[in-house]
């Protein structure tokens, strides 16, 4: 029973994909969209069943399908594990997924390849589910690469534009770098305790008394690199902003809510491995903090509405990694969920604006749309408050938890994180003001066509906004449902530790204050003084550096891409040719010899006989000397 349900849950989106690939064009755009959406909704419904089930009896559900890959010392089964974590993840993957499908029906309606778009979205959901419910690392890897593929397909969805294709390629390859790390991690784990299955692995670690910590740390580090690739952490984050080339729903679903959180999922899954490697955890924490700050600084000056959101995503993910670094997995998960709500909402909101402005993404060409786009504005406002950590919105609770943990473990990182969140508040409201307030700065034509988006777009916005507002409820500082729910997963006792004293309250105050300061600065800058960000040419000084993202892309390009291509050209033009001429050379030499030899064949009898006699004499004399 469970098996069939689980399979249905998994395969429903896949069937949707197949249906849309083969019949999508025939049945027309809306129909294909509806089909795509319904399949995801179905999965969502099934997830809810499982969720209710697991809430009653804490029993995780194990499903083994068949033996997949056979390795000398262990074998990998095709199996699923439905426990608290995976079901929780399924909830928002399928939930937000179905909302975004719904949204896309209207958003993508002008695109002639809409059925393909839905096919890819369904495929993505399918792979994401695989990633989440896989019972071992290799099934996770299927999903891991699969979502990478889908993000490739969707980023490059408008494949006539080679720049988009470049972005897609970049995303795929950077992910692959991470994947190699993940693979190596899998190898190490597989050879240490011959299994890749989560549950058996957990017991194996728990039972064994002499663990090779150094190897485990190496494994943890390798896995973390994988996570960096997927979850866009330093140094592998540059693909995410470029990924905004894809349609906005894609950015909302894949590059904000679901796929990018896969890294956090994986680390939380393997918390028992990471707990064994404290130094790796430190690295994770540091990387997370730094990423959050760097991304936030870049976001300060971006003018493309989606770029800002992209960098804010990177920064938020950084915060999550910070939490993971301190072993506060449930807090990271908490932030993942709340972030999924408000970030999805923000992206969809921006999408609705872009939609209204016929694809205009530059904030300098926007402004004042709040008059016509009321709903969009409200939802956007709520989510912005949430992300800026203003109580009582969801973001406040999750972010505050993270900051608190940081404070308790490492002041320096706490400072960095707080700075990041202050900047977050600033740039979010900068975005808000520039987009919705003041006068419209775009063309007349655009102005005339300004309109509120249709219900299909606004409905998801509203839902998400509500969630973003109240989402914090699942883990209130006083008695957290989430921590209780996730408790079975974690070996050591969850971080209920910091009972609420003065420090905690001051910290909260500081955090909130930071948010408010950020908002105020933005308000002063863009409402009071009515500034508009300068045109690209006029940007100077440090702002220019920030505007160009610290030139990281350029540096990577120079170091890796260029050098590889130079090497490739060198190999092609010199090494290859010289190698082959080496082989040809032998032939040439013999040919030359033959050419010279022909001269010996003079045709004169005298000479022939002379050589004859010479040979005769030499042989005879040699024989004499020999005897």
């Amino acid at each position: 029973m469970n098996t069939n349900l689980a399979l249905l849950l998994l395969l429903a989106p896949f069937l949707g994909f197949l249906f849309n690939i083969f019949f999508g064009k025939k049945i027309g755009k809306t129909a294909s969209g509806v089909v795509g959406t319904l399949t995801v909704v179905l999965s969502f419904a099934l997830t809810l069943c499982f969720f209710s089930k697991i809430n009653i009896d804490q029993q995780p559900i194990q499903i083994q399908l068949f033996n997949w890959i056979q390795i000398s010392n262990f074998r990998v089964d095709f199996g699923f594990l439905l426990d608290q974590l995976s079901i929780l993840w399924l909830l928002f993957v399928t939930g937000i997924g179905s909302l975004i499908h719904l949204y896309s029906i209207s958003y993508m309606h002008d695109d002639e390849n809409m059925h393909k778009f839905f096919a890819y979205l369904n495929l993505f959901i399918f792979f994401m589910i695989t990633l989440v419910i896989g019972s071992n690392l290799l099934v996770l890897f299927i999903g891991w690469e699969g979502v990478g593929l889908c993000s490739y397909l969707l980023i490059g969805f408008w494949h006539k534009n080679q720049e988009y294709n470049d972005a897609a390629k970049k995303a795929f390859i950077m992910n692959r770098i991470g994947d190699l790390g993940l693979l190596i991690g899998i190898f190490i784990i597989g050879s240490l305790f011959p299994t890749l299955d989560y549950t058996t692995l957990k017991t194996a670690i728990a039972s064994s008394n002499n663990l090779d910590i150094s190897m485990i740390s190496l494994a943890a580090f390798a896995l973390f690199i994988g996570a960096c690739g997927k979850s866009a952490q330093i140094p592998l984050y540059t693909w995410l902003p470029d990924a905004m080339a894809g349609p906005t729903p894609v950015s909302a679903l894949i590059h904000a809510a679901t796929m990018v959180t896969a890294g956090i999922f994986m680390i939380t899954r393997l918390n028992y491995v990471f707990d064994l490697a404290p130094e790796v955890q430190n690295i994770i924490a540091i990387i997370g903090a730094v990423t959050s700050l760097v991304a936030a600084t870049i976001a300060l000056v971006q003018t493309d509405i989606k770029k800002v959101l992209a960098y804010s995503t990177v920064s938020q993910l950084g915060l999550m990694f910070l939490a993971l670094g301190f072993g506060a997995y449930e807090i990271a998960v908490f932030h993942v969920i709340t972030h999924a709500f408000f970030k999805a909402c923000l992206f969809l909101g921006s999408g609705s604006v872009i939609h209204a402005l016929h694809g205009e993404q530059d904030m300098r060409r926007m402004g004042g749309v709040k008059k016509v786009m009321g709903i969009t504005f409200i939802t956007f406002l709520l989510s912005s408050l949430a992300i800026s950590g203003i109580p009582p919105f969801s973001g406040f609770f999750s972010k505050d938890e993270i900051l608190m943990t940081a404070f308790h473990n490492n002041i320096a990182l706490w400072v960095i994180a707080s700075l990041a969140s202050l900047m977050t508040a600033f740039y979010m409201f900068r975005l808000l003001y520039l987009t919705f307030f003041k006068e419209f700065r775009g063309t007349e034509h655009q102005k005339s066509h300004l309109h509120e988006s249709p219900a299909l777009i606004t409905f998801p916005l509203i839902v998400l906004a509500i969630l973003a507002t109240i989402g914090g409820a699942i883990s209130l500082p006083t008695g957290s449902w989430l921590n209780g729910y996730l408790a079975p997963l974690f070996s050591k006792e969850a971080h209920e530790a910091h009972h609420f004293g003065t420090t905690e309250y001051t910290l909260m105050a500081v955090a909130v204050l930071g948010g408010i300061i950020g908002i105020t600065i933005a308000f002063v800058k863009y409402i009071k003084q009515n500034q508009v960000p300068a045109e690209d040419a006029e940007i100077t000084g440090f702002a220019k550096v920030l505007y160009n993202k610290y030139y990281v892309d350029e540096i990577y390009d120079a170091i890796f891409v260029k050098s590889t291509n130079v090497l490739s050209r060198f190999f092609r033009d010199y090494v290859e040719t010289s190698l082959s001429s080496l082989v040809f050379g032998l032939g040439k030499v013999t040919n030359e010899l033959s050419y010279q030899g022909k001269k010996l064949q003079t045709g004169s009898i005298g000479f022939y006989l002379f050589v004859f006699v010479l040979g005769l004499c030499s042989i005879v004399t040699y024989l004499f000397l020999a005897q």
Binding site: K598, Q601, T602, G603, S604, I605, G606, L609, F610, V613
Partner: protein
């Protein structure tokens, strides 16, 4: 006949015929006129014949002398063929200098 080889010694016969043979060889090597080259070859063969006879007396055995007849017959046949070839060459080239025969080479 108490054979004279005892006085002279077989070696000298060998030396003599070797010398004759070498003369023949050098003739073949250095002369350009085909006829003379033939003659030189004949000298070689006859040097050998001489040695045959010497050996046959040395061994008191007739086979050697019989062999000489074979070789003479063969030599005659060879020369006949050779002269025939030479004639046709003379018809075509108007000369029998073997230096003119260098069309086949390389």
């Amino acid at each position: 006949m108490t054979n004279i080889l005892n006085e002279i010694g077989i070696e000298n016969y060998i030396f003599l015929s070797v010398i004759l043979f070498c003369i023949g060889v050098f003739g073949v090597l250095y002369r350009r006129n085909a006829i003379i080259v033939f003659m030189s070859i004949e000298i070689m063969l006859n040097a050998v014949n001489l040695l045959f006879v010497a050996f046959s007396t040395y061994h008191q055995d007739a086979q050697g002398q019989v062999f000489v007849f074979f070789s003479m017959a063969v030599a005659a046949a060879e020369v006949a063929v050779g002269l025939a070839i030479l004639v046709s060459i003379f018809r075509n080239l108007g000369s029998i200098d073997i230096n003119n025969l260098k069309n086949l080479k390389g």
